[in-house]
């Protein structure tokens, strides 16, 4: 089937198999490989992107379900001139990553969280990121980064 999806503000279109998952459309068709795949069970959140502005796990959404809609990946966050998004900047400044595998998904989940709740408490940040696993940081600096981004943008 043919799908047309606006990705990071640009209209994209391709003929795909009906069973194509959104994450494969992004990675394999569009070559946007920042969005990672970390599991087979919709658990890890490494594949998190925004669908019409809300965080979803792109490994568990069909490209067909995103047809006609808007998707944002971490590649679409920074400004045209390369200025980082406040959440990216906060991860950078607070050492919110080590190996970086979880980071694209973590950042997108944080962007969605702050959109829904611009001034979260620490507890709300932890609950809001429960769908994203990190094997390295112990979460502490990720939570710090999200709180710092909230401070910066509120």
């Amino acid at each position: 089937m043919k799908v047309t999806i606006t990705v990071n503000g640009r209209e994209t279109s391709a003929e795909v198999e009906d069973r194509t998952l959104l994450v494969h459309y992004l990675r394999d068709v569009l070559n946007l490989t920042a969005t990672n795949i970390g599991c087979d069970t919709t658990t890890c959140g490494a594949c998190t992107v925004l669908l019409d502005g809300e965080a979803v796990k792109s490994c568990t959404v069909l490209a067909a379900q995103a047809d006609g809609r808007e998707v944002t990946t971490v590649e679409g966050l920074a400004a045209e001139d390369g200025t980082m998004h406040p959440v990216q900047k906060a991860f950078h400044e607070n050492h919110g990553l080590q190996c970086g595998f979880c980071t694209p998904g973590m950042v997108m989940a944080a962007v969605s969280l702050l959109k829904e709740n611009p001034r979260p408490t620490e507890e709300q940040v932890r609950a809001g990121l429960e769908g994203n696993l990190c094997r390295c940081t112990g979460y502490h600096n990720i939570v710090k980064a999200v709180l710092a981004a909230a401070e910066e943008t509120a």
């Binding site: 089937m1 198999e17 009906d18 069973r19 194509t20 998952l21 494969h24 087979d40 069970t41 919709t42 658990t43 959140g45 998190t48 669908l51 809300e54 965080a55 979803v56 796990k57 490994c59 568990t60 959404v61 069909l62 067909a64 379900q65 047809d67 989940a109 969605s112 969280l113 829904e116 609950a127 809001g128 429960e130 769908g131 994203n132």
Partner: protein
């Protein structure tokens, strides 16, 4: 992993959804949020030949105050339930339980209709609609019918829906007894309940205490005949055979049910 091949059809209206389901018969499955079905398909535990996508049926996504009850469209997402002020006020049990499902990403996709139609004994919302004595409305080729929640869950992943029948609305009576509690016992944040208990007044729904979502009838009867909460809760696992799996043994689940029912009833009473 990716699902086995299938044909994707998108329904633009309720009528079209029912027509497409009728056309493909047993080979077809409805796709709502896809957060139970797609994980099963990726693991090849489900291999439908046709998916009829009902995810765009926005006219089945609503929460309406109808006086004596609240009407909820089947395509209403967990996120919408968990952020609805109407539910917070009128049905705090459902409002709260929806917010404990999975994680924010799951709640942005999963729907109440999908949760109920899937009839997973580990699901949270089946126990909640049992405790709330909701009525489910289903539509098929020959019209609509109403099914009480207590008759809806038939067995493991088996509901009273006929093949091709679409769940359209959930009608939840505004409870006379206001006290409520939702007890969800998990090992880690994102986990499903090992055992869960939904309490509204003296009605109790159980999560993961057998092959289908059930009411704790033995406890309800004990309470009705005047037993104390402590004594009634001892009957929480009577007549039930919960599964033993990697998370817990059947004995452990039975013990959890007794403890969580007691806590749930106490909390509900304190809130009444």
């Amino acid at each position: 992993m990716i699902p086995a091949t299938f044909t994707y059809r998108r329904a633009e209206s309720v009528d079209e959804a029912i027509e497409l389901a009728g056309q493909y018969g047993e080979d077809a499955k409805f796709l709502a949020g896809g957060h139970s079905l797609l994980p099963l398909m990726k693991l090849r535990l489900a291999q439908p030949e046709v998916l009829v996508d009902i995810g765009r049926l926005r006219d089945l996504s609503y929460i309406r105050d109808q006086g004596d009850h609240v009407a909820i469209g089947a395509l209403t997402r967990h996120h919408d339930l968990a952020t609805s002020e109407l539910l917070a006020e009128q049905l705090p049990l459902l409002h709260h339980a929806a917010g404990t499902i999975g994680d924010p990403q799951v709640r942005h996709r999963g729907t109440i209709g999908g949760s109920l139609a899937h009839a997973d004994p580990a699901g949270d919302l089946p126990a909640v609609v049992l405790a709330l004595e909701a009525t489910l409305v289903a539509r098929g080729p020959s019209g609509s019918r109403e099914i009480p929640a207590t008759e809806f869950f038939r067995g493991l992943f088996e509901s009273a829906l006929e093949p091709g029948e679409l769940l359209t609305e959930i009608r939840v009576p505004k409870p006379a007894a206001r006290g409520w509690s939702f007890q969800k016992f998990t090992k880690r944040a994102i986990d499903w309940a090992i055992v869960g208990v939904a309490v509204q007044g003296d009605r109790i729904g159980l999560v993961n205490m057998g092959e289908k979502p059930v009411r704790a009838t033995a406890v309800e009867q004990a309470l009705a005949s005047g037993a104390s909460i402590r004594d009634a809760a001892e009957h929480a696992a009577d007549g039930l055979s919960p599964a033993s799996d990697v998370h817990a043994s059947a004995e452990y689940r039975a013990q959890l049910a007794r403890v969580l029912v007691r806590r749930g009833l106490e909390e509900a009473r304190a809130r009444a």
